[in-house]
Subunit: 413 residues, 2 copies
């Protein structure tokens, strides 16, 4: 048995090599924000950036900002920065559009590399937008392809020579379970499959080595661990060896070989730019760079080490302090197989999470019974773990979650 | 011959019923901004809105903002507001994604209504992203469809019972020519075609009556005449009678019938929500509402009247003051057939526009030889027309545009 106390965690914070980063974010002293896996906190510098883009760039330089402030280059510049966080090379990543749209592009491009194959393999319990997008694509293509759903323990058995594309989320959005990217990629590529990784819950949460794993394509999100702001643009990675061959069908003018010649006919841009569609929301994208820049200042190894420690302490404290309240760990016990979040299942998960939020611990609920707590090492302190469990314990001990008000609310994402 | 002078235009400004709106925008006193047809000017209130979304909503309320600040409802709320500007009903318009993506959705949905037909009719000289998107779609669907390009005078002859979808831009991006939406829609629908209107250069520029014209679908832009900010989200209209039948294939979770149940399988949302894909750039979208709200305060009839007057005076002044410099009017002479811009062609159009910009008149150049000047009635004054032509005349008289520096620049959109 441990003998943790608040002072123990405060001491860990004093020794934390990442401790300076918390001050870069806007965070309340009263609240413990454990939902950075859904929407990352606001970097203080994001406000000045938004003001700059609106007032100085748009307001003053108007149309000239496209060149003067390099608005046209934002997708490439942000993509190159994200590349450094996920083990990709320059000109392999571009920041654009939303996650679902990038899934659609990646699957389409993957199918174009394997025209003779008909199966797309997905994890059925994945965050549904990936599945929905593939279902839309398959219907659009006349149901000539088959979607196979497999869960983690069925994956390898489902990967065979019929499969054109394997699309998997490395860190499961509900449980935080980490798939072995290197092993699965190798296994699937040995069987001729194209492998696409969804990094929504990976980028900025743990070290990712796309090229080290020889991944074919990847997509991901900037508004979770990269703290890019609400709905900030997603990204897509296409390995150099596939660029020019793996083409996506949403062929807007930003993906043209020469956008400003205004030719009548589409010619694909060489390289990663073909993954672009059209004009991007510049304010959202410019603000996203602030969070990405902050992440680049941190060591991803230190991030991972702290992330594992935070989740481990949280699990241990829930086990010791809340043992009688019926929580069941839904995340892997093994910290190597766990992302930067902890999922607890509980039959009354929904009202409990609402009461916990009211007690100042901001996590979220995922149907049917999962309480999710995200631990974002850039700004979550060790003492937050201690305080969060203390508050959860109070909610459970006092049974405040049984109040009818907590069953009447809308789900918060 | 006229006998205009500066005082004449200043008098028009004093009588202008829209004059109060100029003060709502950030505009330089030294510059004459005639590029609002490419990027609208910044409403002063946009800065406070950006600050509010970043600091108060994202920064303070974090994940709870999705409900508390109605982030999830932004696409519907903005869509309903845009509907009032384009003759659509509530729940027929949604604000989301970019123009090109919405073209792709609309064409896909249009084809789904006419599965037995194989031809898509476009104007070849249209802004190319519409054409590119259709070319991408046709290639993706295995070249089972044929794209026919027609120019304005060939359109009616090209519309027949083979055509599934007619997709036309009402106001031509280069020349500002206005197509007769009511007549073309009727003519095409009598032949069984689905008619899609691109309103990028119409929305906020002139009265549009989609339902009065019985249009099937439409798409458009908010960053031009609606002053939504750089790359602010586009919109898509689907007439009520087609909703539920005209489905688009980019089936992300925001377009699901029950997004928060996280079901494995896609079920299309009823109504216009099916046109949604996934999470939107919230900062860009929230800021866009400011410009849309301003436009809603103005009378579209007054906008059109002033727009026609501004473009007419500009043409007359160019004709009288710059007669010897070789400009040729590339926009319709008839003000009823002209949008809110004037295009002049000139063999040295590119360096001339660069020199004109340096002289403080911000227009833009479109290959191969078009100088575009946009007149946005909310913030362009009559005296701006006089001053702009005076400056253009000086550039031409002094031949400053012949300086080599003006041939070396990059094109500005």
């Amino acid at each position: 048995m441990h003998s943790y106390n608040k002072a123990f965690f405060e001491q860990l914070d004093r020794q934390d090599p990442l401790r300076r980063f918390r001050d870069e974010f806007v965070l309340s002293e009263d609240e413990i924000y454990l939902d950075g896996n859904s929407l990352g906190a606001q970097p203080k510098a994001a406000l000045a950036k938004a003001q700059e883009v609106v007032a100085e760039q748009w307001g003053t330089d108007l149309i000239r900002s496209w060149n003067r402030h390099h608005w046209f280059q934002l997708p490439q510049r942000l993509g190159d920065k994200i590349a450094r966080l996920i083990g990709a090379d320059q000109d392999e990543v571009i920041c654009t559009d939303g996650t679902g749209l990038n899934v659609y592009k990646a699957i389409s491009a993957g199918l174009s590399l394997r025209p003779e194959r008909r199966v797309i393999l997905l994890e059925g319990s994945n965050f549904p937008t990936d599945n929905y997008m593939v279902q839309g694509l398959v219907a659009q293509l006349g149901h000539r392809h088959e979607i196979r759903f497999a869960e983690e323990d069925e994956l390898l058995a489902a990967i065979n020579e019929e499969v054109a594309v394997v699309c998997l989320t490395q860190v499961h959005y509900k449980t935080g379970r980490v798939l072995d990217m290197a092993a699965i990629t190798r296994y699937a590529q040995e069987r001729g499959c194209v492998v696409i990784w969804d990094l929504c819950h990976s980028a900025g949460a743990l070290p990712v080595d796309l090229n080290g794993c020889h991944a074919d394509m990847a997509i991901g999100c900037t508004y979770k661990y990269l703290n890019g702001g609400p709905g900030s643009p997603a990204f897509i990675f296409v390995a150099k060896r596939h660029q020019g061959a793996a083409l996506q069908p949403l062929t807007g003018w930003w993906g043209h070989a020469a956008p400003f010649t205004f030719e009548r006919d589409y010619r694909p841009a060489p390289g990663i730019n073909q993954m672009l569609t059209g004009t991007q929301g510049i304010i959202s994208m410019a603000v996203a760079e602030v969070g990405i820049d902050l992440m680049l200042e941190a060591s991803m190894e230190q991030i991972r080490e702290k992330s594992q420690a935070l989740t481990q302490y949280f699990i241990e404290l829930i086990n010791s302090e809340c043992a009688e309240y019926g929580f069941v760990l839904a995340s892997p016990e093994d910290k190597e197989r766990r992302g930067s979040q902890v999922a607890l299942s509980h039959e009354h998960g929904y009202p409990i999470m609402q009461a916990v939020i009211d007690a100042g611990v901001i996590g979220d609920f995922r149907a049917p019974d999962i309480l999710r707590f995200g631990f974002t090492p850039l700004y979550t302190r060790y003492v937050d773990v201690w305080n969060a469990v203390s508050r959860i314990k109070k909610v459970m001990a006092r049974e405040t979650w049984r109040s009818p008000v907590y069953n009447q609310r809308h789900a918060v994402t």
